[in-house]
Each structure stands twice: as structure tokens, then as C-alpha cells.
């Protein structure tokens, strides 16, 4: 373990070419220590945010558009679930227990940790070349032919080739980029737009969405998109080989075939 952990920094930097990242030596980790740690911290925080977010939504499972909305207002839509508040007419004959207190504490604690982790991850792009090497699609990848063949492979749930144990395919790269640079920023932004303190200093945060209730509704839909991503992500990991992909993200070691080949 000591050996594996001590080398990544030195070797990670020497792999500077944009060629498929086949390891230069058998000790090069598939994912750098920083990627592995930020990945799992983000995973933990995402589940904390999701569970606490669901609890908060249960107290008012109605969504609106514009500045205001309450039980006297016509909702944009309503989730057909029981509520933890008796004033919300749900059609269920019971009221769930109020769990908002710890949910809100946990939601913001996890939000702080995931935002700081995300910042560390994005700032590390400047030093590691992770963005250019691993996330931005290569020139050849963006051709229609390469793109459609990648989509076809995904649709057939084809087990990826051995090279892919060491590199992301184009669909993977584009979805990771979308999550990192569109969904996460949007979910943070709409979250801040619901904070009465924050928007007093930066009103454009909320007026850009047309109101606090619009921001809340968008926050909900971005969360749905992130959950969809999570499901697809886990499904693809199972298709590619759950054990090998989990091992690569936990220990950094990738498939044995590659270590033999190098």
C-alpha cells in the first residue's frame, strides 16, 4: 500500500501525452488519489443531500413558478406523496413526522463539504491535466462516426474493450463534463437563490430565475437529472464490470491484463 500511494504524484505528471493513458509502469493508478478521494466524498455528500432534500420536500410536496407559492396558490405540479405538515392536502389520511430540523442541518453541512471538495477537484485541473487528458473528448472522438458507434455500444450494453479500463469513452466524457460544469453549478446556484440572506446581497441570483419558487422548482429538476445520472453511472459500472471498476476507484488498481502487458 505504501508503494502504491507514494508514486502517483511523480508518475501521474510524467504521463503528459494525450495518447490513451496506458500506464507507463505497473504502479500508475487508474485514478489519482485526489480523484478517488473527491469521488467518494462527493458520493457520500450526494446521498446526504438527497435524503435530507427528500425529507424537506415532504414537508411541502408542491411546486410553483415565480416569486411565491403556498397552499392557497395553484401549484405548477404536486407530488402525490404524503406530507409531514397537516396543512398540505395530500389525500392521505395521515401526516408524516417532521424531519426537517436535522435534514436542514445535514443538507447545508453536506453542501459545504461537497462544494469545497468540488472546488478542490476543479482547481486541481490546473495542475494535473485531468480535464484535458481524461475529460475533454479527443479530436477524433467528436466525429459523427465515433460518436454514433459509442452510442450504439452503450445501447447494446456492450462490455467495453480492455483499453476502456484506462480511459473514458466519449459519451462518458461528455456526461461527466455536463455533470461537473452544468448540473452541479446549477444545483448550487438554485440552492443559493432560495437563501433569503444570500439573495439580499446578490439579488440577481434569484431574479435570473424569475423568483424564489422558480429556483426551488429548478433545484428539484436538477436533482432529478443528477439522480438519473447516478442511475446510469451505476448501471454502466455494472455493465463494464462492477468489481474491476470499484477496485479502480477505491484502490487505484485497474485490470490485471494491463499490468501484465506493461
Amino acid at each position: 500500500m505504501a508503494r502504491l500511494e507514494s508514486v502517483p504524484v511523480a508518475l501521474g505528471e510524467s504521463v503528459a501525452s494525450s495518447a490513451p493513458a496506458v500506464p507507463a509502469a505497473k504502479v500508475t493508478p487508474r485514478h489519482s488519489g485526489l480523484v478517488r478521494v473527491t469521488h467518494w466524498v462527493t458520493t457520500l455528500c450526494f446521498f446526504a443531500l438527497l435524503i435530507s432534500g427528500i425529507e424537506i420536500v415532504i414537508s411541502h410536496p408542491r411546486f410553483y413558478w415565480g416569486e411565491t407559492g403556498n397552499v392557497l396558490t395553484k401549484p405548477l405540479f404536486q407530488l402525490h406523496i404524503p406530507s409531514s405538515r397537516s396543512k398540505v392536502q395530500t389525500g392521505y389520511g395521515y401526516v408524516l413526522p417532521d424531519q426537517n430540523g436535522w435534514s436542514r442541518y445535514l443538507h447545508f453541512q453536506a453542501a459545504w463539504i461537497v462544494v469545497l471538495t468540488g472546488l478542490l477537484y476543479v482547481i486541481s485541473f490546473l495542475f494535473t491535466g485531468h480535464l484535458r487528458k481524461d475529460l475533454l473528448p479527443g479530436k477524433g472522438d467528436l466525429s459523427w462516426r465515433a460518436f454514433s458507434s459509442s452510442i450504439a455500444k452503450h445501447l447494446r450494453f456492450e462490455r467495453p474493450s480492455a483499453e476502456e479500463a484506462w480511459s473514458y469513452n466519449v459519451i462518458q466524457r461528455l456526461s461527466y463534463l455536463f455533470v461537473i460544469f452544468v448540473l452541479f453549478p446549477l444545483v448550487i446556484w438554485t440552492g443559493l437563490a432560495m437563501s433569503p440572506g444570500f439573495v439580499s446581497a446578490f439579488p440577481a441570483t434569484v431574479t435570473a430565475f424569475g423568483g424564489q419558487q422558480s429556483a426551488r422548482t429548478i433545484h428539484f429538476f436538477v436533482t432529478l437529472a443528477l439522480v438519473l445520472f447516478l442511475v446510469a453511472h451505476v448501471v454502466m459500472i455494472c455493465v463494464a464490470g462492477f468489481r474491476s471498476r470499484m477496485r479502480a476507484m477505491i484502490t487505484g488498481r485497474a485490470d490485471g491484463t494491463h499490468r501484465e502487458r506493461t
Binding site: 403556498n70 397552499v71 453541512q109 444570500f198
Partner: protein, 252 residues
């Protein structure tokens, strides 16, 4: 390999020491500048402190958004609430003529104000958003006297750091720091949408803190206490909210 391990160990140890002492220094500075909330203990203390400290640095003087008359929620909304107690009902039967707002603690002139006295000060109004932590919200026009006007009258002593405020319902009390207490939009509201403040919205007298979620705007206020520490109040967490599991700082 052992060399690298030893070097890593030393560097790691130095980094950890620097980190811990850095945190300790940060905590001292945060405490000195009033950036640590009363409910900073426990597993969620980190998030609470980061939220409070960063919002205090960013929002000390910022104003909550104000809206046009046409944006006032119609019909007006009043949240459900627990039944009113006997003390309230007695005062209500007398048309609130005997309602008093007592101001004590670290003030030069402890005073008990009647509603008429409060209404004799120049009234102010604001059309602001009230958002509940549950997710619903409404906009109303609030009419009242800025809390800062009342605090000026009683003379706040320089060591004051919080203003605690109490509802006639003994389970319901809260506090704000001086930045919020002296903020021009923090009101003792006695009117709403051009009329007397309805009972359902906290009449005859309600705190309004528009830069916070709704639960900070305590209804039926009868007492203010100016203090330098929230330790002696309830469980010392700043308000009734953390005792019920909710955070003291409700700017988010």
C-alpha cells in the same frame, strides 16, 4: 520506500499540525469578529459556522428585496399555528389595550411599551417576501417600527451582542445578532397590507426579519432582552429553534 514513507510521515505530521493550529487561529478570529453562531456545537457545527460566518461577511448591510404592491400575495396567507393561550385571550378580549412590549437586559433605560407608544413612532412599511423553511412563501406589506428605533429609545449598551425576543407563547423565543437587530428592515410589525396585523399573522405585534426564513419572525412578541451572550437562555443555543432541531441562523 521507508525513506519516502518517513518523509511522507514528517510532511503529513507538519501539515496536520499546521492545519490544526490554523483551524484554532481561524476559530479565535471568528469568535472575535462574532462569526460563530450560538448553536456551533455538535456534528453540524461546522456547516452552521461556515454558513453564518460567510453570510455575515457577505450580507452585513445588504437589504432584502422589496416588491411592488401588485406582487402582494392575494389571498393573504396565514400559517397554521398552535392554539393561543389564556394570557393571549385575556389581552385579546381587552382589545390589546394592555399589551406590553418589555425591553430589558443590557440597556440604559429598561422600558415597557404599549402598542400606542410603539405606534407613536414614525411608522415604516416594507413589501417583503416571507419564505418558510418548508418551502412555501408569500409577499406582504409589513407596517411597523424598526427594531433599531426601539433600541435607540432604551439605549443599548456597547457590550450588547444579541437581542433575544419572546412570544407570549412561552415555547417560542428567538434571537438575532446586532447586525440583524440594527438592520433597517428588521421590524416590530403591527400592521399588514394596510390593516391591523391579523391574529393569524402574529397580531398585535410580530418580529419581522426579512433576511431570514419565516420561523425567525416570531409572532405575539411581548419581551426583548439585550444581552452579550445567549448562554443563559434556554439551553444556550440561541433560540427555541435549535432545541427543536432547527438551526439558529435562518438566513439560509
Amino acid at each position: 520506500m521507508t525513506d519516502i514513507s518517513r518523509r511522507k510521515l514528517i510532511i503529513g505530521g507538519l501539515a496536520a499540525t499546521a492545519g490544526v493550529s490554523g483551524l484554532a487561529v481561524a476559530a479565535r478570529i471568528a469568535q472575535k469578529y462574532g462569526l460563530v453562531p450560538p448553536d456551533h456545537g455538535g456534528i453540524y457545527g461546522l456547516g452552521e459556522t461556515l454558513t453564518y460566518a460567510s453570510q455575515r461577511l457577505l450580507t452585513r448591510h445588504s437589504l432584502a428585496r422589496e416588491f411592488s404592491r401588485s406582487q402582494i400575495s392575494n389571498p393573504p396567507f396565514a400559517n397554521e399555528m398552535p392554539p393561543l393561550n389564556e394570557a393571549y385571550k385575556r389581552l385579546q378580549a381587552g382589545g390589546f389595550a394592555d399589551w406590553r412590549l418589555t425591553v430589558d437586559g443590557m440597556v440604559d433605560r429598561p422600558t415597557s411599551f404599549s402598542l400606542d407608544q410603539l405606534k407613536s413612532y414614525p411608522s415604516r412599511s416594507q413589501i417583503t417576501h416571507l419564505a418558510c423553511e418548508e418551502g412555501w412563501s408569500y409577499i406582504a406589506e409589513w407596517i411597523g417600527v424598526p427594531l433599531s428605533r426601539v433600541l435607540d429609545t432604551v439605549g443599548v449598551q456597547p457590550q450588547a451582542r444579541y437581542v433575544a425576543y419572546f412570544s407570549i407563547d412561552p415555547d417560542w423565543w428567538d434571537s438575532v445578532d446586532m447586525a440583524d437587530a440594527l438592520h433597517p428592515q428588521t421590524f416590530l410589525a403591527y400592521g399588514m397590507n394596510g390593516k391591523e396585523l391579523p391574529v393569524g399573522n402574529g397580531g398585535p405585534l410580530r418580529m419581522r426579519v426579512p433576511r431570514h426564513l419565516g420561523y425567525k419572525s416570531v409572532k405575539f412578541v411581548t419581551r426583548l432582552t439585550v444581552t452579550d451572550s445567549m448562554k443563559g437562555f434556554g439551553q444556550g443555543l440561541g433560540s427555541a429553534a435549535p432545541e427543536g432541531g432547527y438551526s439558529w441562523y435562518a438566513g439560509i
